[in-house]
């Protein structure tokens, strides 16, 4: 199992892998916002957490369609389906490696973008922590979409369309926890704990659903 993790990490880091592209997309999307809304620092710092969350959400969906597609195209997926070890575990490992290679860099890059958005230190820290906690849920939900779309020839866009509505709860609680850390009356913990709960819930539901979809996508 650890070999699968290492193999997927190696594949995404080596030439042709998409690890860099997600971060780049994230930075570009967030950097474009000020050109639309104007360079008013107060306004930017107010909308900053939301923009960073939305940017991270879109960037996280970017490489998702490749999660199972490449393995299906070269036949590796067939062998993974045949094994004795539960497919759920294989899917979980693949989600984990996707998160490590493609989504964790977004979390690491988010403080930098926080500076561009003129957010204060507390807000930057809050966004980073909520992203760290909430983003695995994006990978798990995305795995279901990727598994459903695996047999389609051009599933890339479809995956985003399928997955985006399902990720709305993550966005709601991620952003509200980030704002709660900055704005005084709202408490930080309740939305944050709900976010943790969502991630844990989807870490079970996501791989189960994806495994089920992969089993039924056989042709």
């Amino acid at each position: 199992m650890i070999d699968l993790l290492l193999r997927d990490l190696k594949l995404s880091v080596r030439a042709g892998g998409g690890a860099l592209i997600g971060v780049l997309f994230f930075m570009t999307v967030v950097a474009v916002i000020p050109f639309g809304v104007g360079p008013d620092l107060n306004l930017l710092s107010r909308i900053g957490p939301a923009i960073i969350w939305i940017g991270a959400l879109l960037a996280a969906l970017l490489g998702l369609d490749r999660l199972f597609q490449t393995d299906r195209d070269d036949g590796s997926l067939d062998l993974m389906l045949m094994q004795e070890q539960p497919l759920v575990l294989t899917v979980l490992i693949k989600c984990l490696s996707h998160w490590l290679a493609n989504i964790l860099p977004l979390v690491i890059a988010s403080p930098l973008l926080g500076l561009f958005m003129n957010m204060n230190e507390v807000a930057i820290g809050a966004v980073m922590i909520t992203l760290l906690v909430g983003s695995p849920a994006l990978a798990f939900i995305g795995a279901v979409g990727a598994a459903v779309a695996v047999t389609l020839p051009r599933g890339g866009l479809l995956v985003s369309i399928l997955v985006l509505p399902l990720t709305i709860p993550v966005l709601i609680f991620g952003v509200s926890a980030s704002y709660a850390a900055v704005e005084d009356p709202a408490p930080f913990l309740p939305p944050f704990l709900i976010l943790v709960a969502i991630t844990m819930f989807f870490s079970v539901i996501g791989p189960l659903g994806a495994a089920l979809a992969l089993r039924n996508a056989g042709d």
Binding site: D3, K10, D78, Q83, G218
Partner: protein
């Protein structure tokens, strides 16, 4: 150890590809599927590998000693049309990954990566990325994957496609060695393939003929 297939039927979409197909294989035997394109050879092999659900019937691997039946897919290697190797990784990384991912089923052990590569006579290219190899070399390396982890049953679909005559003979020899150690082989092929104890099954699309061993 016996491989039992009873009353297998399979659909592809709405089409019935074959129905009520039964056969059995004892240790060291091979089932050779022949027939024109689209006659359902690949479908039968994918059903055998558990990748397609049969419309009816079952496929089991029966162990006489323990009197237990196993799911065939977990005790079988499947080599389809695609090689299941990553172009970006080196050959060694590919084989080592499958070795540890597949593991051995009870009753045998796979050989080391180096030995497997030597068996297909390609040990010099272990350090190269898989994508650098020619189509024939890639096929041979994909076959080496069957050696690194032990499975009693090999399900191979056109294993010698894209190979020259000497490489074809090489793979046939490796398959015979597997049989002589008690392994079973399910193969679909256009080219003549020299195996031991061969049972033939000619697939005819919607109509089917039974194998000689349809005694079940």
């Amino acid at each position: 150890m016996r491989l039992l297939a009873e009353n297998l039927s399979a659909h592809r979409g709405e089409d019935l590809i074959f129905s009520n197909l039964s056969f059995s294989l004892a240790e060291g035997e091979a089932l050779l599927l022949t027939g024109r394109n689209g006659s359902g050879k690949s479908t039968l092999l994918r059903v055998a590998a558990g990748l397609l659900r049969p419309a009816s019937g079952s496929l089991r691997l029966w162990y006489d000693e323990t009197r237990r039946a196993y799911n065939l897919a977990e005790a079988a290697h499947y080599l389809g049309h695609r090689n299941a190797m990553k172009m970006e990784l080196t050959v060694r990384e590919n084989l080592a990954f499958w070795q540890s991912f597949l593991g051995n089923t009870e009753g045998g052990r796979g050989v080391s990566v180096l030995e497997a590569a030597a068996a297909v006579e390609l040990e010099q290219v272990l350090h190269l990325p898989f994508g650098y190899l020619s189509a024939g070399q890639q096929r041979r390396m994909a076959f080496a994957k069957l050696l690194v982890a032990y499975r009693p049953v090999w399900i191979v679909d056109e294993p010698t496609a894209a190979l020259d005559i000497s490489a074809e003979a090489l793979l046939a020899r490796l398959m015979r060695e597997h049989q002589s150690q008690g392994g079973m082989i399910l193969a679909a092929t256009h080219q003549p393939l020299e195996l031991l104890n061969v049972k033939r099954l000619e697939m005819k699309g919607f109509v089917y003929t039974n194998a000689e061993g349809h005694d079940l």
